[in-house]
Symmetry: none
Subunit: 216 residues, 4 copies
């Protein structure tokens, strides 16, 4: 796509190239389905090739191994989310964090399976997707923020991680539990917490003492 599709050669070699690309896509689509259904570890190459309706050997013509296709599924899925978030906020001159967060909620909701898949791989994904979209975004905003007090600049990674943790849990409500609340309401709630923290009365002394040992 980037090496061969030069100038006027583009239309000139649909020989096997188009076929090849179609096969590859079948595999990616199938893999996404299988990984979502069975998780990285329980998925087998055979399951994927069967779902893709291609021979087992064909798999290795397109991907080095299971990890490779997993990373590709993930990378392409995340890239799609990234792109669509970009499109959603494209009309804004200067998108604020709330606007971006809201867009992310929309797009992640639309592609919930990718989040689930990411989880099942845990340490597998060669962290190839970089520091993660969320970390990246939050870091950017944090770096541009006028005043971080009472936090220091060294704490930007920590703050980004905490923001990510917040959103991550919100996403989780969607993956095997219910589809509610929808992305807009969810964004409201999370943004409120991001801005103002949790309800103040949470931090006051509990009225009624509760049994310590089982308290935790």
């Amino acid at each position: 796509m980037n090496q061969k599709s030069e100038s006027h050669q583009q239309v000139k070699q649909p020989r096997g190239a188009r076929r090849r690309a179609r096969t590859r896509d079948s595999l990616l689509v199938a893999a996404r389905k299988v990984f979502a259904a069975r998780g990285y570890h329980d998925a087998t190459i055979t399951e994927i090739t069967e779902a893709a309706a291609v021979g087992v050997g064909t798999f290795y013509l397109h991907f080095r191994d299971k990890e490779a296709i997993f990373n590709t599924v993930l990378a392409e899925g995340l890239e799609a989310i990234r792109r669509q978030v970009g499109e959603e906020i494209a009309h804004e001159d200067n998108p604020s964090l709330p606007v971006v967060v809201r867009a992310i909620f929309h797009q992640v909701y639309a592609q919930r399976d990718i989040i689930r898949i990411e989880r099942t791989g845990e340490g597998v994904a060669a962290r190839s997707s970089g520091p993660g979209i969320l970390m990246e975004t939050f870091t950017r905003f944090l770096e541009q923020a006028a005043d971080l007090s009472p936090f220091s600049e060294e704490e930007i990674p920590l703050l980004a991680a905490l923001l990510e943790g917040l959103m991550d849990r919100a996403f989780h409500c969607w993956w095997d539990e219910q589809d509610e609340p929808g992305p807009d309401l969810m964004a409201d709630r999370v943004l409120h917490v991001m801005k103002h923290g949790f309800p103040a009365s949470l931090f006051e002394e509990p009225q009624k003492p509760f049994f310590a040992p089982s308290a935790l």
Copy 2:
């Protein structure tokens, strides 16, 4: 601790029961080590039994399979954290959320490997450890809170999940990255965010427009 407290209890079950218990412990200790080092999926029974210096067959005398010992390692590890948190806050008449959170940071820090292990199992753990210690604790506090506005009572599970997400990411800083910041500083930071949210200037319009597509 278990060898000396027999003074007036010696009659328990002297036979091979002690030997049996010791072997079981070896296996648990070994499994914890192996799971922490290699993750749930890559760990093998043989690795565990070798680390425990017992025969393979012995494993099956004590645990049905890998999943069983994994759940036990986790359950006992989490129970230990739970207990120690309880002890740490035992002197408080009415421990407030910040006190409890601080204690949790202390104890989780002291047993960081359990957190790492928990993650590698992902969907494996038969969620036997219930709704998780953190969820439990936060839910309790949220239910006792005088005023949750602007949140409703139905949103308690969501709020608990968000609080958990915050702490979870904090724990993560410890698991393959560095051991810094220590639990006390970490607790300060996280509690600040919990109480007041993130720095306000984060939510203002960014001064300098930034390149949209790659913005995300």
Copy 3:
């Protein structure tokens, strides 16, 4: 029982000897039950010792291995049948073959499980039970028979085997099918066949031709 129970020593050493004998009996009874229920190959030593309510180690104090107890169960079971057949025909001065056959049907019916057990072991039983009770009996009668024509004396083993096959199948009707017909009726039927063969019309041309290929 036969080596130590001499004269007045018999009562003199019930120290551990009686206990030992009782344990051994528990094992034999348990093994008979387990072999009957699960067959030789699927039975495990542990199952037997649990059924006998003794420790695993105890097993090896009494029997060398699984095969040994199997052979013992079989040998003692067959010996019991043998003995009881002997008792049943003891009052006869000169028991004829029909009388003996009838007694065998009675006693085998009473201990059907032994027949089932024998089968599950197939080649295992170190053919220790000799040529089998039936072979032995039939051979004896055949050797005493005045006239074997049209068979020769060399064919006695074959004839004995055929007689055994007849009875064996009769026994089989009892083992997982029904308990009918009872031993007396069965003896009638089998003895009739032994004496006169099968109904003559069986050997005439079949009236209606039947489809050859599927005929067999």
Copy 4:
């Protein structure tokens, strides 16, 4: 038979289908050899695959487990006997029982190992081979017989079983003992017994009384 009859059917499924079939056959041939030599229970998958000169994994490409290949070996072996008996008697318009019995003796003799193999599996064979070829054949003849007296029609299964028992023992003379007498002589003997029963003098009073207890 399968390689030459392609002349006008070559289009079937040329690819690896032939290779696959050849491998499957190797496995079946090897399994037959191994089961005959070591019995069902002592045979291992590895032995079979080594004898077939294929990898272990290949086995599972063709058969679910040991039981599956055992049943296939048996079913195909019995089917072959069935077919060849059918061919042997094909020229007869109306084969009588003696003719069929004789043919069975011929064919079973030619494939003695199948009988041995069947025995070693005992309860394993999912009785998939139906009620057995012999039972089937005898039942058919018995149902066509004009006169069964003194037996009733309800006793047909018993009679079939007894006939089977007779032949079964005859087959047995061949399986670990000697190859004598050959199938023709054997058929003579067995058919004689079927028609006329055993020598009459067997049922007369024994001249010499014999020692009762050990008599059996």
